[in-house]
């Protein structure tokens, strides 16, 4: 099989540096697998957004004091489900303590929407007890729903 014929992976476990090219490359690999598994454009948009939010939180907040540390990204694409785990090496946080960014008094604050967007677009969003690892689950909608 030539390189051009290579099938996209259906799962991966990689370490990503806080580098735009590293992040883009990891994102591209996952989205290639998502497209190959015949997810819709809307699904791809949702998965990409949630992945970006998880990585942004990991690097921006989890690794605020660990700029050189990589983040671990694990994903698995199945015909009906995509499961993504992003784990940083920071102290973690309590996602339930994040205030609702849609409250009128918080609407003009320029931060605090990442967790909300992940929850809006994913079927499931789970954090470990420490709050440094998030698992995102996306389920392919029935064809009629797309």
């Amino acid at each position: 099989m030539s390189a051009g014929d290579r099938q996209p992976a259906t799962e991966a476990d990689v370490l990503i540096r806080h580098d735009p090219e590293d992040i883009r490359c990891a994102e591209r690999e996952l989205l290639d697998a998502v497209n190959k598994a015949h997810y819709s454009e809307a699904s791809s948009f949702a998965i990409r957004l949630a992945l970006e939010e998880a990585l942004y939180n990991a690097f921006r907040h989890g690794h605020r004091n660990l700029p050189e540390e990589p983040v671990r990204l694990n994903w698995r694409v199945r015909p009906d489900e995509v499961r993504i785990t992003v784990e940083d090496r920071g102290p973690g946080f309590n996602p339930d303590a994040v205030p609702d960014p849609t409250d009128a008094e918080r609407l003009e604050l320029p931060h605090g929407r990442g967790v909300m967007l992940m929850r809006a677009y994913m079927a499931e969003v789970h954090y470990n007890d420490r709050g440094n690892r998030v698992t995102l689950v996306y389920r392919k909608p029935d064809a009629a729903e797309q």
């Binding site: 735009p20 992040i23 883009r24 454009e41 809307a42 948009f45 990409r48 957004l49 970006e52 939010e53 942004y56 921006r60 960014p101 849609t102 609407l107 003009e108 604050l109 320029p110 931060h111 929407r113 990442g114 909300m116 967007l117 809006a120």
Partner: protein
Amino acid sequence: MAQSDARLRVKKEAGVTHVEFVDRNILDEANIQQIGEEISGLIDAEPAPKLVISFSNVDHLSSAALGALITIHNKMKARQGQLRLANIDPQIYEVFVITKLNRLFEIHETTDRAVQSFR
């Protein structure tokens, strides 16, 4: 080098500053920071600015990009300026609806309608 290139296309017409993004994906942190700085410079350039930001080239964004837009909104408000967003793809508009930012920003279907809305 791409990093040092302008991330916006800007034109001024009849007292209105029109801004378009060069990138289809305004997720990248470095790009977002640069976009914020470039628009900030445009706001500072005149009193009570009128600004239309067109999303016609944009097919993706993130909460960090929304944060940059809110910072722009707040700066415009402080300068008694008027900000309008236009040409937002339905998928991206949904992000504004989920976050209720469609209530904060004045969003129009086209740049023409956005321009007509200025007081």
